[in-house]
């Protein structure tokens, strides 16, 4: 069953940012959204979370989540969904936790707000959640401030918060980009493990095809605000259809190929894509 259905979404922030994005995510699916910086991939996530900047305007299209039209529901209903049914694993764990609050209240607050837990029940649940993300010395971490934890530990806490209310959809916005390579792998494995246990759908936003290969079932490639190609991960890697996807794959280092087989994405191709986008804008 489709949990998130985005249909020909157009977004302007003084200039066109998204040019007819369509995307479907099924229950329990990890859907990778791949693109380089400026492609619009982060804005897709922000649209779903209702975090659009001040001058942003959705000019066309809809976002359907679990039978509800997100762009039309009331603010209070939004707040009800956020944190419970839709959550976020943010990009930068160093800045995403409130620096003046201890870890414990930053986990228990969502539990108390959305699940109506008592303070003691929420406390117990917070400890369980930290256990789920493989944090040892749980009691100590709960009493600590964010600056006392490493980046990897903070990302584990943030993942615990994201999974706290058993959401239906998690937006993971480059959740490993800010981390060390070794920590990256652990975090990816952790997300995959928790996702498999809970069957939560994840929109996994990244610029890294290597990460996509490790975790995603389906992949959409985005450039200049348009989805160029959408396919199952296996098919996309085996038979990329769009020339941009082919170029992107050729630019990704792989173990089964020598390093000199790496080619950057040709500049003419990128120019052509932006040219198409401008023609697209002019036609509207």
């Amino acid at each position: 069953m489709t949990i998130l259905d985005i249909k020909s979404l157009y977004l302007d922030i003084r200039q066109p940012i998204l040019r007819g994005v369509s995307l479907q995510i099924k229950e329990g699916e990890v859907h990778g959204l791949v693109g380089e910086s400026g492609a619009g991939k982060t804005m897709v996530g922000k649209c779903v979370l209702g975090l659009l900047p001040e001058h942003a305007k959705v000019t066309h299209g809809y976002i359907n989540f679990d039978g509800r039209e997100l762009l039309k529901i009331h603010a209070a209903e939004w707040r009800d969904l956020l944190g419970r049914d839709i959550t976020l694993i943010p990009q930068n764990p160093m800045t995403a936790l409130n620096p003046v609050k201890r870890i414990e209240p930053q986990i228990t607050d969502v539990l108390q707000l959305h699940l109506g837990m008592t303070a003691t029940a929420a406390k117990r649940r917070a400890a369980e959640l930290l256990n789920d993300v493989h944090i040892r010395e749980i009691d100590r971490v709960l009493k600590q401030f964010p600056h006392e934890l490493s980046g990897g530990m903070r990302q584990r806490v943030l993942i615990a918060i994201a999974f706290a209310c058993k959401p239906k959809l998690i937006i993971a916005d480059e959740p490993t980009t800010a981390l060390d390579v070794t920590v990256q792998r652990q975090i990816l494995r952790l997300i995959k493990e928790l996702q498999a246990n809970s069957n939560t759908a994840i929109l996994f936003i990244t610029h890294d095809l290597g990460v996509v290969a490790k975790i995603c079932n389906r992949v959409s490639v985005i450039h200049s605000g348009r989805i160029l190609e959408s396919n199952s991960a296996a098919d996309l890697f085996a038979q990329p259809k769009h020339p941009y996807t082919q170029a992107l794959l050729a630019a990704t280092p792989r173990f089964d190929r020598p390093a000199d087989a790496l080619h950057p994405v040709p500049a003419e191709l990128i120019d052509a894509l932006w040219g198409e986008a401008r023609v697209h804008d002019a036609g509207r």
Binding site: G50, P90, A96, N98, P99, V100, H114, F145
Partner: protein, 335 residues
């Protein structure tokens, strides 16, 4: 570590206090003018004048006077007031609680107003409450406490006479305090009529003292709130489904208070300095009012004692501001 820091702070206060004492002492003595002249009736004999001079130690060279005064001060003896003929220390201590209570009330009002205006202008950003708050802080910051004191007297004491404008307490009330902390004592003893009278007497002077500080807090806090609202942890709080009100009060405010405390620290000492004139204007029986009297009477021992008291208060306020900065900021708290 932390104890060492505070000990160092205390140690550094000593040269500052010494400097203050030296400057005031020399300043009061190098300039022409004879404090004894005020004490003697016309036609007093030369011998009597010389006796008085000796009694107050004014016949010795300045440096000797300073050394003996400093030695006495180190033992807690500030000498005797010339005009009031009483021990300076006990005079100051009997008036200090009134000033402290007034200053405390003023700081409380300033914090309340400052935080409310800052939060309102961030909550309703770009709408009329923000313009109102900006206008308020511009006006409150430009006009000094002295003028606010007079404005309130004129408006609420004379044109619409609803508030008392002089003294600390309604003299007709039957109140026999054992301490000079009237607020605390009346509260503890449950004498609410006394408390009401205390509040009605001190709210105008406290408000006059508070307005410039409130405006400063409102301005600085608004900026740091707006900055905090752009941080990632606020975005996460929004994604958690919190209301805007909860995000501002419980997520952004605790963070925004930290730079605000650091930036408004000096203004707190200005508030203490402001009590001098405000107490004078409102005939409020604190050390500020006493200081103006002492200056006009050229009462050297009392002036010295009071200036030193103010300097100690200033240093104490600075330490308090630093302490609250440390307390609010977990990142420096644990180092």
């Amino acid at each position: 570590m932390l104890i060492g820091y505070w000990l160092r702070r205390l140690f550094w206060a000593i040269p500052t206090l010494f400097g203050v004492a030296l400057i005031v002492f020399v300043l009061l003595r190098v300039v022409p003018g004879d404090p004894i002249a005020m004490l003697i009736p016309p036609g007093a004999r030369e011998a009597d004048i010389a006796n008085l001079r000796e009694l107050y130690g004014l016949d010795k060279p300045i440096w000797q006077q300073f050394v003996s005064w400093l030695g006495a001060v180190a033992q807690g003896n500030f000498g005797n007031s010339i005009s009031l003929r009483e021990n300076v220390l006990s005079l100051v201590l009997s008036r200090l609680p009134a000033t402290l209570e007034l200053a405390f009330l003023a700081v409380a009002i300033a914090l309340l107003l400052g935080v409310l205006f800052a939060v309102a202008s961030v909550y309703w950003r770009g709408r009329w409450p923000e313009a109102l708050a900006d206008g308020f802080s511009g006006l409150a910051l430009a006009i000094p406490d002295f003028l606010w004191g007079l404005i309130f007297i004129l408006l609420l004491g004379v044109l619409i006479p609803v508030m008392p404008i002089s003294g600390r307490l309604d003299p007709s009330l039957d109140f026999n305090p054992t301490t000079q902390f009237f607020f605390i004592e009346s509260l503890l003893r449950g004498e609410f009529r006394v408390l009401a009278s205390l509040i009605s007497h001190s709210v105008l002077p406290a408000l006059a003292l508070a307005l410039p500080l409130a405006a400063m807090i409102a301005r600085v806090l608004k900026n740091s709130l707006n900055e905090a609202m752009n941080q990632d942890y606020i975005m996460l709080a929004r994604v958690k489904g919190f209301t805007r009100r909860r995000i501002i009060w419980r997520e952004a405010l605790p963070n925004a208070l930290i730079p605000t405390v650091a930036l408004t620290g000096v203004q707190f000492t200005f508030l203490i300095g402001g009590t001098v004139l405000i107490e004078y204007i409102y005939s409020y029986p604190g050390i500020g009012n006493m200081a103006i009297g002492a200056v006009i009477q050229r009462d050297l021992p009392l002036i010295q004692g009071l200036v030193l008291t103010f300097a100690v208060l200033f240093i104490a306020i600075n330490c308090l501001v630093d302490a609250s900065y440390h307390w609010l900021n977990p990142r420096v708290r644990q180092r």
